[in-house]
Symmetry: C2
Subunit: 218 residues, 2 copies
DNA sequence: GTCTATACCCGGATAGAC
DNA sequence: GTCTATCCGGGTATAGAC
C-alpha cells in the first residue's frame, strides 16, 4: 500500500475506517434493519466483496459501529454530569443523557438496544460499555451507600425509566417536534428523582417506620 | 364454498383464520423479523400465493396478529386488576401485567413494540388498543383526581417504567431462569409504587411546602 | 379460493484473477 | 486489497388456469 493514486481502480487509504463511517451514516438515517454491506459498498464505490477483506461479515461491521455509538454516548454522558455533585441530580442527569442520546441518534440507539449483537462474539462492545456502566453505578452507590441491598433494584429501576422514556420518545409519544426530545429527557429526569424519593420513603416505612411516616399512607 | 372435501387440492374451512393462528405460532417462537408469508404457507400446506386471497400483503397479516396479541394482553390485564381497589395497587398491577405479558409472550410483545406497524393503515390496531388505554388511564385518574395537571406525566412515567422493565427482562437483565419474569414484574410494580409516592412528595414540596417536608431534602 | 408458474428483487458470501 | 464473476438463499408479488 505504498503507491497511492494507482490505475483507474477504486482505492482507499483506509477502507475499513471508511466503511465504519459510511455505516454510521447509513444507519443514522435508515436504521439497522435496512442496512446492508452491499449498499455501503456501492456508496464507497467498491464492489460488494471488498468489505470482506476487512470484516468477517456484516455483523462484525455492525459491532464496530456499536462501539462508535457507545463512545459517543459516553462523551455525552460525561458532559451532562460535569459540575453536578448531588447524587440524586447526577442520577437524574444520567437518565437525561440517555434519553437525549436516543432522541438525537435514534438509529444508533436502536442499533445498541435492538440489533441483538452477540456480545460474546464481540468483546469490544462489552469493553466500550464498561466506562458507561461504571459511571452509572458510581452514581447509584454514591446515593445509597454501598451496603444498601436495595441499590441494585434502584439501579434497575432508573435504567428502566430512562430506557422506557427513550422508547416512548422514539414511538412518538412526546410528539414529533424538535421539543420532543427535551420533553422526554425532562420527564425521565423528574421520574428518576421521584423514584429516588419514593424509594427512600417506602424503605423508611418498612424499616424504622415511625408514626409520622406511617401517617402518610393513603 | 359449499362443497367441502373437494378433489386432491388443499382446502381449508378458513384459511384466513388458519393463517393468523399459524402466524401467531411462528412469531411466538422465532420473532417477527424472521416471519414470512412463505413459511406460513408451507406450514399450512398451501402455496405461497394463497394468502394473497385473504391479505393484501404481509403487513396486513401482521396487523391481524397484533390485534390478537392486544386482546390477549387485555384479558391478562383484567385478570390482574381483579379485586384490587386501591389506586396505587391498581397502577402497580398494570405495570406487573405489562411486564408479565412481555416475559410470557416475548415475540408477540416485540411485534407490538418494535414491528413498526402502521396504525393509520391498520385502524384495527388502534381499536384493539383502546380498551387497554382506557383501563390504564382510569387507574391514573383514580389516583390523582382528574384535575391534576401532573397526571399525564405520571401516566407516562408509569408506562415508561413498565416498558423499561419489560425490555430489560427480554435483554436478560433479570437472568434467563423461569423466575426472571417474576422478578422483573415485581420490580416494575415496586418501582411504580415508589414513583407514585415520590411524585406526591415532590409535588407537596412545590405547592404547600412546609418546613417539615422541606427538611427531608437531602 | 387455490394452484402453477414465474418474474423480480434483495442480500450474503466465496473462488480465483490481478 | 480489490475486482470479476458467480452461486446461493430468501422473500414478495402477480398472471392466468382450474
Amino acid at each position: 500500500m505504498t503507491a497511492k493514486a494507482k490505475s483507474d481502480r477504486y482505492h482507499h487509504g483506509d477502507l475499513r475506517t471508511a466503511l465504519i463511517a459510511t455505516a454510521v451514516e447509513l444507519i443514522e438515517d435508515g436504521g439497522v434493519r435496512t442496512f446492508s454491506l452491499a449498499e455501503a459498498s456501492r456508496r464507497l464505490g467498491v464492489t460488494v466483496s471488498a468489505p470482506y477483506a476487512h470484516f468477517a461479515d456484516r455483523e462484525e461491521l455492525l459491532a464496530a459501529v456499536a462501539v462508535h455509538a457507545l463512545e459517543l454516548f459516553h462523551a455525552d454522558l460525561q458532559a451532562e454530569l460535569k459540575g453536578l455533585a448531588e447524587p440524586p441530580d447526577r442520577l437524574a442527569a444520567v437518565a437525561r443523557a440517555y434519553v437525549r442520546f436516543a432522541g438525537i441518534h435514534r438509529h444508533l440507539f436502536e442499533l445498541l438496544s435492538e440489533a441483538g449483537l452477540d456480545k460474546v462474539r464481540h468483546p469490544e462492545i462489552k469493553a466500550a460499555e464498561r466506562p458507561i456502566d461504571d459511571a452509572f453505578l458510581s452514581c447509584v452507590r454514591a446515593l445509597s451507600g454501598a451496603e444498601d441491598p436495595a441499590a441494585a433494584e434502584l439501579a434497575t429501576a432508573v435504567e428502566a425509566t430512562a430506557h422506557g422514556h427513550a422508547l416512548l420518545l422514539l414511538d412518538g409519544h412526546f410528539g414529533r417536534s424538535r421539543k420532543a426530545t427535551a420533553r422526554a429527557a425532562g420527564g425521565a429526569a423528574r421520574a428518576t428523582l421521584a423514584l429516588v424519593e419514593g424509594r427512600r420513603l417506602l424503605s423508611e416505612r418498612v424499616s424504622g417506620a415511625t408514626g409520622l411516616v406511617k401517617r402518610r399512607r393513603r
